[in-house]
Symmetry: C2
Subunit: 203 residues, 2 copies
């Protein structure tokens, strides 16, 4: 797997942190916010940025997380400038945290990879109408437009150009369980060829 192309993680075996993360998602499934996490990036100016995003599932047959983004949003500019991100995923019911850091990649309308183009199309089709409407809204972070600019419109089956699929391929995962006494913390570090170091460490 190259640092710059998380899509190349395809066909790798299930990473050892997938099982505890699946368990956390299951145990916290009653809360919609359990599918949200915070994504840290570095801006073109070299400062950290952080925002909540929605987990959109796994890229097929990989350990790569998918999310979506608007091409006009600041996070897309961040990723283009610094293609590495750090997710922090806190599960409120089970009181555990996963920190997942690794290369991050945009799949946009001009992408020529057939599998990624299909993944982008599938992500678009899987979205609710309400979520899809947002990609037709006026430019994010610009002065507030009139309410009529947000009126619902017909949704195309082809994703609009501003719709990006985002791929995060963790290379380092830090799992902290606050409920232990003392707390339990496990570090997972990725090596080439789907090999992971797994170490119990002090919290």
């Amino acid at each position: 797997m190259s640092d710059s192309d998380p899509s190349l993680s395809k066909a790798s075996a299930l990473a050892p942190w997938r099982s505890p993360l699946a368990r956390a998602l299951h145990r916290n499934r009653s809360q919609p916010h359990s599918r949200y996490f915070q994504l840290a990036t570095i801006t073109p100016a070299g400062r950290p940025a952080n925002r909540t995003v929605v987990f959109r599932g796994w890229l097929a047959d990989t350990n790569t997380l998918t999310l979506i983004a608007d091409h006009r949003s600041a996070k897309v500019a961040d990723i283009a400038a610094h293609p590495w991100a750090a997710a922090c995923w806190y599960f409120t019911s089970t009181r555990e945290q996963f920190r997942l850091a690794g290369p991050i990649q945009l799949v946009h309308t001009a992408d020529r990879d057939a599998a990624l183009t299909l993944a982008r199309q599938n992500s678009w089709e899987a979205l609710s109408d309400k979520a899809r409407q947002q990609f037709y809204w006026p430019h994010p972070a610009q002065p507030r437009s009139a309410d009529t600019a947000f009126d619902p419109r017909a949704i195309d089956e082809t994703p609009p150009d501003d719709f990006c699929l985002v791929l995060l391929a963790p290379h380092q995962v830090d799992h902290l369980e606050l409920r232990g006494d003392p707390q339990n913390r496990t570090l997972y570090s990725h090596h080439a060829d789907a090999i992971w170091d797994v170490n119990a460490v002090n919290p």
Copy 2:
């Protein structure tokens, strides 16, 4: 206020984003996790890092958030290398997000500022015994020590050398309310002398 010394924000007027943030804290107060947020920093190697931290209240008479950190933790090294951070605070009940970015500063045992030394002492005294014990634990992120290394010990009234107070003085605040239709988003940008620009923008 200088970029590098958030403590100088003292005696500034209440920033205009304090009122909506206070309202969010109040409306979500039944959930302990409403006092947690995610803090993004940049590592000495230039990569983003992200972790959940606990809000420890305001530095007296300022708009500066306080948190605590162990001097042995990676976040302290990050802050020393890049004294700017981006907090992301998502409130699950009211479905709103505050992103707060600005200079971040460590107050450690060697600090000579009388007010900050007092603030550090007060933060130590305000902690639960359970939280204070953690500063006597073995080195974080090192191979897991025997359970006996985590046995409770007598707590000093003087904070241990590894106890750091951390000060985050937001210069930019981005408030997003997901419940609006369309969503409401407000940007607050700090200027000299406690003057803030406040702008309604597109979500």
